[in-house]
């Protein structure tokens, strides 16, 4: 193992998205020595994903809102890096964290090809690993040209590219509006934004809306933008077929009933050369689950980390901020990063969080109220599985179809996703169920009582040589 510093850092923050950045600079402001690790080469996470420097973007802010917040954070980051108080380790993918004595040992992959390993130690840990997009399979979703909606956004922000010229955006959740608008502003024709839920449902919670005027304003701004680019908004509908043999040539959009079952005979074709699709996000919890942090089911049906009001998880010395505690957006992530850091500082210095923490807790509660509403409105209705044809692939890596999973459940008695997985290999491929996990649970049922949701021993594929070296160093 390459040498790591002999003394553990006072706190390690995993993830340099909005939550992790806010946590790291707040902790460093208070004089803590901080390790900030991220798999990416630049800070910002999913929201503040910037064009690569070589692209010479003069107006990176054109792809974002709140760019000033981000540049202020990175300026603080740079100051702390210069004084050596904060070590920002880019290109460090943490694949496991283990509890050692009074603190934690982090194992990360580094190097140009991600084949080298390092171990680092820290007394406290803030997990800010964000989320990945939630995908619900449908006939044709493996055809080239079908891409994640957030994925298209990420590729646009970092590489300044589009998946096609005429792009239908579909799925569920407010993120789709941001994606459709970005694609249109970047020159794509977006004939339709297809939303499986309906925005009318928000109106049933006027108090929550009134408490979050910024979110209301954002919705109005997005809709005005979409109208300006001629994007048709189609609610209570979903893409139920994709046309094309080698790549997307069009999609069929069907009306859904309130349970998200397609209504027969309502399909209409829309021509396009790409489909950007996603049904919200799911927290990325591998490291937290490996540490034994407890989870609960959030309003949108996903497992999220259980935390107290100062964002401590149930594992000692481990805090969680941002989307790991539930999908909510960039503002919650920023507030939670700061709040988690205040609690970490109090823990390290043996005091109580300052008065500022109370204000952050209040803001967080208010914003979490909106997030819960969002989760409820866009939570996939149980009827979505009726989109699936028997030959629709659910697990893309192992090419396991819905029919195969249903056979495992109906004829071989698989009563939970773990058994269905063992019988079919669904979720056992390269991505380890990150893409198909939600769908498999819907088809086969949640894992049994003894199984932690989606627990994976490694957060990413690790070369055997690295594993072997790690084992040797831990034996020593």
């Amino acid at each position: 193992m390459p040498p790591s510093s002999p003394d553990p850092a006072e706190v390690a923050v995993v993830g340099a998205g909005p939550a992790g950045l806010a946590a790291a600079v707040t902790a460093a402001d208070a004089g803590l020595d901080v390790l900030l690790l991220d798999a990416a080469d630049a800070p910002g996470g999913q929201y503040y994903r910037a064009p690569a420097p070589g692209l010479g973007a003069a107006r990176p802010e054109a792809l974002h809102h709140g760019w000033g917040t981000f540049t202020a954070l990175t300026a603080r980051l740079a100051r702390h890096r210069d004084t050596g108080r904060l070590r920002h380790l880019t290109g460090h993918q943490v694949w496991a964290v283990t509890r050692t004595g009074e603190g934690h040992t982090l194992h990360a992959l580094t190097g140009p090809d991600g084949r080298d390993g390092v171990t680092l130690r820290a007394r406290r840990l803030v997990l800010a690993t964000g989320a990945v997009e939630r995908q619900l399979p449908f006939p044709g979703w493996t055809l080239p040209g079908v891409v994640g909606a957030a994925g298209a956004q990420a590729m646009l922000k970092s590489g300044l590219v589009l998946p096609g010229r005429r792009v239908v955006v579909a799925g569920s959740g407010p993120l789709l509006q941001a994606v459709a608008l970005s694609l249109a502003r970047a020159g794509a024709r977006v004939p339709a934004l297809v939303e499986a839920a309906g925005y009318g449902a928000y109106a049933r919670a006027p108090q929550v809306l009134a408490a979050n005027p910024d979110r209301l304003a954002e919705g109005v701004r997005h809709r005005a933008g979409l109208a300006r680019y001629g994007v048709r908004m189609l609610a209570h509908r979903a893409v139920t077929a994709v046309h094309g043999t080698e790549r997307v040539e069009g999609v069929t959009v069907s009306r859904l009933d309130p349970a998200w079952r397609p209504v027969p005979g309502t399909g209409r074709r829309i021509d396009c050369d790409a489909l950007a699709v996603g049904h919200g996000l799911v927290p990325q919890l591998d490291l937290a689950l490996g540490l034994g942090c407890a989870t609960r089911t959030d309003a949108d049906g996903s497992a999220v980390l259980e935390r107290d009001e100062d964002l401590r998880t149930t594992a000692s010395g481990v805090w969680a901020a941002g989307e790991t505690g539930g999908i909510g957006g960039v503002r919650i992530a920023l507030a939670e990063g700061e709040l988690a850091a205040l609690s970490v500082i109090a823990d390290a210095r043996g005091g109580r969080p300052p008065a500022r923490a109370a204000g952050l807790r209040r803001r967080r509660r208010r914003m979490r109220g909106f997030a819960a509403l969002m989760g409820t409105v866009h939570r996939p209705g149980p009827g979505w599985t009726e989109w699936l044809a028997p030959d629709t692939e659910v697990c893309r890596c192992e090419e396991v179809t819905a029919g195969a999973i249903r056979t495992a459940v109906d004829e071989m008695g698989a009563g939970d996703s773990r058994t269905a997985k063992l019988l079919t290999r669904a979720g056992m491929g390269w991505c380890q169920g990150r893409t198909c996990g939600f769908a498999i649970r819907a088809l086969a049922g949640p894992p049994g009582p003894d199984a932690t949701p989606g627990r994976r021993p490694l957060a990413c594929p690790v070369p055997l040589t690295t594993l072997a070296r790690t084992a040797r160093s831990e034996d020593a």
Binding site: P51, A57, P163, R185
Partner: protein, 114 residues
């Protein structure tokens, strides 16, 4: 300010135009032997998308075409063979001048280097 009556038809409206990008000099990579232009900082997946190439892998079981899907390194759909090395995630791999990207077949092990 009104820039165009039909913003969707405005030829100046491109991702680079939107971000005010003035990239450094582009360079060439190849995809299955044919030249593809890449800009400095673009991932291999981004360079291929810019050239309207959406698939660069065929699946192990059914031999179906696949390309980038999640765009952030989590789905492993974008695996490509680059300069003879298989199983690289094209959405994370920066394009470098002269890179030879070839369609990865199956699990890519057929092309594993010794």
């Amino acid at each position: 300010m009104r820039r165009a009556r039909r913003p969707d038809r405005d030829p100046a409206r491109t991702p680079a135009g939107l971000a005010g990008a003035a990239p450094g000099p582009g360079f060439e990579i190849t995809f299955d032997g044919r030249p593809v232009r890449a800009l400095p900082g673009q991932s291999i997946a981004a360079a291929l998308w810019a050239a309207s190439v959406l698939s660069w892998r065929t699946t192990r079981v059914n031999g179906r075409p696949r390309g980038a899907f999640c765009g952030i390194g989590s789905c492993f759909e974008c695996l490509a063979t680059v300069n003879g090395r298989p199983n690289l995630r094209a959405c994370l791999q920066p394009a470098r001048p002269g890179d030879a990207v070839t369609t990865q077949e199956g699990n890519g092990h057929a092309a594993l280097l010794p």
